[in-house]
Symmetry: C2
Subunit: 477 residues, 2 copies
């Protein structure tokens, strides 16, 4: 490590109380973006970050994204906080992203402590509080990196740009357009992007992440009678939309998770032997899935296969049926119109347009087999493409080296099964390499009760983010 | 017709205004049994009937059925009004049943007029109002029969017993036990039972009804993870309860309505050629179904087959799924526990216990095929047996002859696809022949908006009920 690097790492090590104090400060702001009652707190959190950036010597501005309708009210969207620090043309410029809004939380949901009060359990070393790991801890990681350098009188090894949003937990309304519109102004000159908003695969070994699955969501409607019918009076006489829909939904995927829509599996990029080996070494076991699901229901008992089911292959889930009887109790209805909801998770080289085409063709063919007098309609939602970044890039090499320096281990290179849409936006709009560099662990309970961030992850994670910047500077572009 | 019979029929013909006036009086009482806000009106309607019976010289008492929990409130059940008129051992005794509660109705549901205000459309001859046909009109038919005889100074040809309940639209709580408990006291000496609470098959030709399908309702649950999962993170890794449930639900019935559970169709009584002919002559056309469903979705285009699908054969309907995503919009959930609801309509000689056994065996076998690590549980609801009365009985003969005298036509002998549980209770508890003798037409909209009773059905229907009593008296038991 360079002298500056070492000074920075030591500073963070010795000033853990500062990190905890600032985390307590932000956890106390209930910036819940999904509930209009908390909207002013989301704004307050945005202003807090802007003020902190200015205090640390960065430039920072808030950007209005317009209005949204929430629970019947028209309310202003939280601002995007955009900032920059350094403008040295001899240095690389790294754009970092985080979100300052959080998921809802009430003590009565099952929290052991007040969710908006940071509780440091000294015995376990865990910091409990809503937003601790998702995503206030990582944002503070960046801010403390700057604070350390300012206090130590050290220059940052790179130029930084910041994009902190306040709507990530509620759909990131307007952010896509904002980034695309400002790619040549606010976000010009960016050489690489780093997003710290996901988690280690397990609880022991750090990872960097270079892939996310995409999604194609479908609503399949079958309509028959003009109104709901009594099954006593009409049962047996008419084609029932539910019977038709259930038949078609049953033709999409097997209980073993194999997608049975012709033309889908053919689109999946072939697995190479080398690639397969990546999954053998990952810090992961079947019991991690069992712990997370509270059951023993993995389809495979083979670790690499279970991992690839999440990271490497598509999946199809049946989410539910709108329009049918969904309440407790018994009701003898023949629903007039039912809409099945299902979605596919997409991986390279699946093309959303081609997926829609295959699904449309399949459901039409299945419906024709039913010889039903009902009518069918398929409505695809706006799809999200899968994202994969090339890990043979100095951005990833910097993250690997930084992890080795802080954690003493080569990180796993993982892919996530879900989507973080802003990742693809940055990749597409800025056309730069994007890296996901997580701070927390798989068991942090990001959207759940008793969300926590281990103090060690917070401290080492902050050291990692700063060290990553040094490794970026040292890398040959 | 006998002299008395003719006098009675003429009296009803000339006093139509009296019939309309009393119907207006009872329609104005919103005796909605399903909403605690109207419970006092249900009581008021019960008291009105008791007072009217007493006024007409009958004996009448109200009987407390205890309490019920409705919308979280403990409220008293509406009373059963039991009455009798005449105690002549040389006459037959007929028990008549009706219900004085009604379905909910709000003008905003889509009514053209105030639902609890009787509106007489002189152009069409229709009497609009909630309860007009279901079932206040028929109850008044009996009361006006008595009133006519009282006014004319005529003796009734039979002894009458009355059982009017106030909870039919909401499950008839407590009535079963009440009838069974009082079969040898309040309901002793009954020779035959007449229930006027169903409808003509079509709109032109009267019918008498001697059968109802039974029902077996099932709740099939599949459980996997301990909590709902994110389909991005877990899709493909785990056995999804929805996938399993949809597979099993798809194995129960074809889009052509054929039940595919082994052992079910084998229980159905064989159709004879003679029996089949009954369906050829019924006043019915496919367009009646199309009008009722607002669609052209009958499975068959052959009239007798469509009729038999309702009256003669079992059916299986898939009602919905509890626990899955049922709201509008998109949600990428893997539901942790889902419960499919389905029911079979039963016909002779299906035995509910055997039906449950077949369903249990089938779903277990289908679930085993899935090789899923999830768990399955089948919960059958309390079933209802099918009911069929022997039409070669003086009770039916009387109804046939009365219909011929009033309408000039031999009525259709129909069966209903649904259930009226009290029918089976009377048949089983009293062990007497039970007859369904409807007053209204198929298009009356009993549970719908703009419920109506045609004035002609009300007048001729009242004449029919009275004439039926004369034919009972004339019949050889």
């Amino acid at each position: 490590m360079s002298e500056n690097q070492t000074k920075f790492v030591d500073y963070i090590e010795k000033n853990q109380d500062k990190l905890v104090k600032s985390l307590a400060e932000v956890v106390a702001i209930p910036s819940v973006s999904g509930d209009p009652a908390y909207r002013q707190d989301v704004f307050r959190q945005g202003e807090w970050i802007k003020a902190k950036l200015l205090e640390l010597g960065a430039e920072a501005t808030t950007h209005d994204l317009g209005m949204q309708k929430l629970d019947g009210k028209d309310i202003p969207l939280p601002p995007v906080v955009v900032g920059s620090l350094g403008n040295d043309s001899s240095k690389k410029t790294v754009l970092v992203y985080g979100h300052y809004d959080v998921q809802p939380a009430l003590k009565s949901d099952g929290w052991n402590t007040e969710p908006f009060e940071l509780v440091h359990d000294e015995k376990t070393g865990r910091l409990y509080g809503r937003g601790s790991t998702d995503d206030k801890g990582p944002i503070l990681g960046w801010l403390h990196t700057i604070e350390a350098h300012k206090t130590l009188g050290l220059e940052l090894p790179v130029n930084l740009k910041f994009c902190f949003e306040g709507m990530e937990e509620s759909g990131s309304n307007g952010l896509d357009e904002f980034v695309t519109k400002n790619k040549d102004t606010l976000f010009s000159g960016v050489d690489a992007v780093c997003i710290s908003d996901n988690y280690w695969l397990g609880t022991k070994k750090p990872c960097v992440t270079n892939g996310l699955r995409g999604i194609s969501y479908f609503k399949l409607s079958i309509s028959g009678p003009a109104r709901d019918l009594h099954s006593g009076v009409f049962g047996g006489m008419v084609h029932e939309p539910m019977t038709d829909l259930i038949k078609i939904m049953s033709s999409l995927v097997t209980p073993q998770g194999e997608i049975t829509i012709p033309g889908i599996n053919e689109q999946v990029k072939e697995l190479t032997d080398d690639e397969r080996k990546v999954y053998d070494v990952m810090d992961f076991s079947i019991s991690d899935v069992d712990d997370a699901t509270g059951s023993q229901t993995t389809i495979s008992d083979n670790k690499p296969e279970v991992l690839m089911a999440r990271m490497r292959f598509p999946s199809l889930s049946l989410h539910g049926i709108e329009g049918a009887f969904a309440e407790p109790g018994s009701k003898t209805v023949i629903p007039a119109k039912v809409t099945g909801k299902f979605s596919l998770r997409l991986v390279p080289n699946m093309d959303p347009a081609k997926v829609i085409e295959c699904v449309q063709k399949h459901v039409e063919s299945e419906f024709a087999k039913l010889k039903s007098k009902n009518t069918m309609h398929l409505a695809p939602d706006h799809p999200g493409k899968p994202w994969v970044a090339d890990p043979n890039h100095w951005n990833y090499e910097a993250a690997f080296r930084a992890t080795e320096k802080i954690y003493g281990v080569r990180p796993d290179l993982t892919k996530e099964g879900g989507s973080i849409p802003i990742t693809l936006t940055f990749a597409d709009a800025l056309n730069k390499n994007v890296l996901l560099l997580p701070m927390g662990r798989s068991d942090d309970g990001a959207h759940s009760t008793n969300e926590k961030l281990d103090l060690s992850n917070y401290v080492k994670g902050t050291q990692l983010l700063g060290t990553y910047l040094y490794e970026i500077a040292a890398a040959t572009a």
